[in-house]
């Protein structure tokens, strides 16, 4: 996987059509990340295009042994943060239209949709850096090392930011009153299936 990727990158340095393979490989993830960062499809598409263009222009400086994914996300994150500067907090206008293909989600219940709506709004209300950290870890599933590379901070710092981001998000959802019946909470706590030991 990583090997194929470095071959692709080497080819793309010579040939802009080979670069298209990289675009196809990453466009869904990149678009989704930027959509969650901006809350807006048009912005996400414009930014994604800009990210790819920057990657293409800087590709000749890219070392073959360097990890590609963190580099890509670093460019995307910085662009999205710059884009958000000087703007009012994004108001959530559009619905997530289920898209085609394997990435699309099935239609959920009304309650699930409500929760999703609240979580999307809460993510958009986070300060950009925390928003990015949450998405990088829990949507794009970057490793902690990759996350640290994207943020250009030590591993420990990256983890602390993620913890802070989760705490903030949890607090926002709590304020929004999402799914908070204490009965349910207690029931789940006593019979928690995933806690080891």
């Amino acid at each position: 996987m990583a090997e194929l990727e470095s071959i692709l990158i080497e080819e793309a340095k010579q040939d802009s059509r080979a670069f298209g393979e990289l675009v196809l490989r990453y466009q869904d993830r990149l678009f989704n990340f930027l959509y969650r960062m901006t809350g807006n499809r048009e912005d996400a598409q414009d930014l994604a295009q800009e990210v790819f263009l920057r990657v293409y222009k800087a590709l000749h400086r890219f070392r073959p042994d360097a990890p590609f994914r963190p580099w890509l996300y670093k460019i995307a994150m910085n662009l999205a943060i710059n884009h958000a500067k000087g703007r009012r907090p994004t108001a959530l206008l559009e619905e997530d239209v289920p898209s085609h293909g394997p990435l699309a989600s099935p239609e959920g219940t009304a309650e699930q949709r409500e929760t999703q709506q609240a979580i999307r709004q809460a993510i958009l209300e986070l300060p950009e850096v925390y928003r990015a950290v949450i998405l990088l870890r829990h949507v794009d599933e970057l490793s902690y090392e990759e996350m640290a590379q994207v943020l250009e901070v030590p591993l420990g710092t990256a983890k602390v930011r993620l913890h802070r981001a989760r705490s903030l998000l949890q607090e926002k959802l709590r304020e929004a009153g999402i799914k908070g019946g204490d009965h349910e909470l207690q029931h789940r706590a006593t019979a928690h299936p995933t806690l080891p030991g």
């Binding site: 675009v23 196809l24 949890q170």
Partner: protein, 166 residues
């Protein structure tokens, strides 16, 4: 164990970074502490909610537009703003050449004319020297302009080529 540590362990649990012993300690605390228990559940539920957000696919024209922009970038010279910098440089050299020609020409003529007063050379001879030196300084200025122009032209031509692959 205090609640701060329990909440930290909760974060580590979500990072899959708890040892068996730590997990047991956390579990014991959660059994006796309602606040930390609800923090644990809220945090885990938040994480799950983020993870279960639908993944949106890129719109179909993203690829088309991106590749068009890439092709345009590949065809265009790499740094067009440097062309303007170079044109500026050329203008500077041309102006410098012209100023040298205008300034040093008459000056040289004056100094040679001064020399002529003290020298018993004939008037025709001295006029010949003045004319020659004037021409020389004009020639120097023109040569400067010419050199700058040639250099710029060569670099413009070089930048018109696609950049070599690294």
């Amino acid at each position: 164990m205090n609640c701060n540590i329990a909440q930290q362990l909760t974060q580590h649990f979500l990072d899959n970074a708890l040892s068996q012993a730590e997990a047991r300690t956390l579990e014991l605390h959660l059994e006796g502490c309602r606040d930390c228990r609800s923090y644990f559940i809220r945090l885990e539920r938040t994480t799950l909610a983020v993870e279960s957000l639908p993944r949106l696919a890129a719109p179909p024209d993203l690829y088309v537009r991106t590749m068009a922009a890439v092709a345009q970038s590949a065809a265009a010279p790499r740094q067009p703003q440097r062309r303007w910098a170079d044109l500026g440089l050329m203008a500077f050299f041309a102006l410098a050449g012209l100023l040298i020609a205008l300034q040093s020409g008459p000056e040289l003529a004056d100094s040679l004319a001064d020399l002529e007063l003290a020298d018993p050379f004939s008037l025709v001879d001295s006029l010949f020297v003045v004319a020659a030196s004037l021409e020389l300084s004009l020639l120097a200025g023109a040569a400067l302009i010419f050199a700058a122009g040639c250099g710029t032209l060569a670099r413009l031509i070089a930048w018109g080529q696609p950049s070599p692959a690294h």
